[in-house]
Amino acid sequence: MTKPQEIDVMEPVEQEFPKEKYDELESFINSLETTKGALIEILHKAQHIFGYLPRDVQLFIARKLGIPGAEVYGVVSFYSYFTTKPSGKHTISVCMGTACFVRGADKIVEKFKERLGIESNETTEDGLFTIKDVRCIGACGLAPVVMVDDKVYGRVKVEDVDDIINIYRRKGAEVCR
C-alpha cells in the first residue's frame, strides 16, 4: 500500500476542527458501497462539512482511502469548485458568462474588487466577504448577474455595487448589536 505523502503547498496556518466533523466525514466514507472512483464525491461531502478543503482534511481522506496525498491534492487543485481557503461569511459571485460579460460584468467585478480591496477568490480582512467570478449561472435573461450566497441580483449596474455591499454590512452590524 502506498503511504500518504506530506504535501507542503498550502498555507501553514490551519484551523483545528472538532472531531465530530471528521467523524461525520468518516461515516460518510464508510457508508459508500465502494470507494473506487468516489474521490470527487467524498471531496464534495468534505467541502460541505468543513466549508473548504484544508490540508489536514485532504490528508485524512488520503489515509482513509489508502491513496497518496498528492493524488487527493491533484484532484482538489484541478477543479474550480474545490477550495483550499476558508470563505468569508458572504460569497459574492459575479457571473462571468459571455452574456453577462457583453453587458458589463467585468466592470462590476472590478468595482467590487475596488470597494472591498481584494482580488477574486480572496476574503476581506473582517471575514465578511469573498469574491468569486463564476462561469455561468444560467440566468442570462437577467444579465449581468451577481449572486450573494443564494440570492440572485439581476440587471446589476455599477452604481448598485455599493448598495449590495451595504445590505450585507448592515446585516453583519445587526448581529453584533
Binding site: 470527487i40 471531496l43 484541478f78 469548485y81 459571455t98 467585468d106 442570462c140
Partner: protein, 575 residues
Amino acid sequence: MQIRSLEELNKIKQKSAGKIALRLHRDTTTTGKNILVCGGTGCHANESDKIIKILEALLKSRGMAEQVKVIRTGCFGFCEQGPIIKIEPDNVFYVRVGLKDAKAIVEEHIVNGRWVERLLYEDPQKKEKVNTQEEMTFYKKQLRVALRNCGLINPEDIYEYIAVGGYEALGKALTQMSRAEVIEIVKKSGLRGRGGGGFPTGLKWEITSKQEDEEKFIICNADEGDPGAFMDRSILEGDPHSVIEAMAIGAYAIGADKGIVYIRAEYPLAISRLTTALRQARELGVLGKGIFGTSFNFDVRLKYGAGAFVCGEETALINSCEGKRGEPNYKPPYPAEEGYWGHPTCVNNVETFANIPVIMTRGAEWFASIGTEKSKGTKVFALAGKINNVGLVEVPMGITFREIIFDIGGGIPHGKKFKAVQTGGPSGGVITEKGLDTPIDYDSLLEIGSMMGSGGMIVMDEDDNMVNIAKFYLEFTMDEACGRCVPGRIGTKRLFEMLHKITSGKATMADIDALKQLAYMVKDSSLCGLCQTAPNPVISTMKHFWHEYLAFVEDVDHPQGEGRYIPKNKIGLKS
C-alpha cells in the same frame, strides 16, 4: 405500484389525463383553471417561488384551492420577460409578474374573469398587447421538440409526464422491438449529437452495441460548461423524465444496465429535480429490475462534476467519473470501445437524449422531415447578449441567423446596430452581417468559420470591441485548459498575454503576426477539442475585424511611416 406492461402504463396514463386536460384544452366541461408558473432558473431567481406561495394563499383564503391549481413548470424559454405565468385553459400569458401582481391575477383574472391588461406582453414593434403565446413573434417560428414538455408539465410529477405519453417509447422498445430495431430508428432519424460535435447518435449506439463485453455503460453528459448556454440545465429542470427514459432506451439498445448522469454541482435545482424524478421512476418500476415485465434491468446514478470546462469532452468526463482529474485521453480508443473503467461506454448530451422518446413514438420519418439534408430535427439555442428577447429558443435546423436574431430575438436593443453573433462559445467563432442569411446547420456553420457547439448564441452590437471579446474567451480557455498538453497549457496562456498586450496598446505589428502564427499552431497541435478550438475566437475575429486589431497597434516598427510592415511569415488567414 409497479408498471409491468404497456397496458398498465396506459391505465395510469388515462387516470392521469385529467391532471393536464385543462392545459391541453381537452377538458371543456369544468370551470377549473391551472395557473402555470415558470420555475426555471431565471424566473426562480426573480422570486417565482414566492409568487406561487402568495397565489396559493390567496386562492385558499377564497376557498378556490380545489378548482384552481397552481403548478410550477419548467422553463418557458422567454427568460427576458420572467417571471412568466400562464393561465389555462384561457391561454393567457402574463410576463414580468411581480410579487404584488399575484393579487391582481387572482382577483381580476380568476375571480372576475377579466384579463390583467398591464401584465400582458407588449409587442415592441407594433406597440400592441399580445394575448396568447402563439401570437408572440418570439414563439411563432419556434418548434419545440426537445423542449416539448418544458413549461407544460410539472417536472416533479411523474404522472404528468406519463399523461403526455411519457415512458411509452421505453415500453414499446422493450416489449415490441429488438435492440437492432431501436438503433435502426435512431439512425434513420438522422439525429446528431447536440453537445457540439454533431456525431450521428445512431452510429454511436451501434458501435457501442457491437462491442463484446459483459458490462457496458451509458452516460448522460450534463456538464454544461459553455458560458452563456443553459439549454441542458433547462431540460433537466423542466423535463427530467424524458432524459431518464431516453437513457433507458439507449441502454437497452447498446446492452448496458448501468447509467450515469454527470452533472455540474453548480446546478442545484437540476440536481434536485433529477433526484426526485429518479426516485419516482424507481417507485413505478420504469427503472430497476425487470422493466416492463422484461428481463431488462437498468438504473441511473448521479455523479457530480466540480467545475471544469474540459469535462464536457467525453474522455475527460469519463476520467472525472472515475474520481480523477478531468484530463482527456488520446482517441482512439473511443469511449464506445473502451470507456468507463475500460468498458464500452456511450456518452450522449442531455439535449440529444431529450429527442429520443419523441423519435421513438412519432417515428424516424417524422423527425427526418424536419431540418436540412444533413442536419435533421431542431436545435435549442440560448439567445443572449445584446438582444431584446433573451431566452431559450428551439428552431428547425436550416433557419437563418437573421430569423433568429431579428424575428424571434426581436433585434438589438436601444436602436443600436447589429455587429456580430458568436456561436459555439469559446470553441466557435463570430458571424457578421454577411453571414446572417446562412441557414443554420452543423456543416454550414463550420464552412463560415464557426460551429454549432452546445448552442450558445451571444449577440453583440456596435459598442462591443471584438479584440476584447477574443481576449475574454482566451482568458476562459486559458483558465480551463487541463494542462496536459503543452500547446494547451502554454499556448493558450501566451495567446491571452498577446491579446492583453494588444488591448493595452503596447503591441506592435510583429505581435499581431506572432499571435496569428501561434493561433494556428495551438489549433493544429493540441491534444483535445478544447484547445484545438481555443484559438477560434482569435482567428475568426481577425478575419472579420482586422481593423480593430490594427486600431490598437501603433506602427512602431515604422514610426515615420516609411513603409508598411511586411509579415515575417506567410501564414495568412485561411478563408
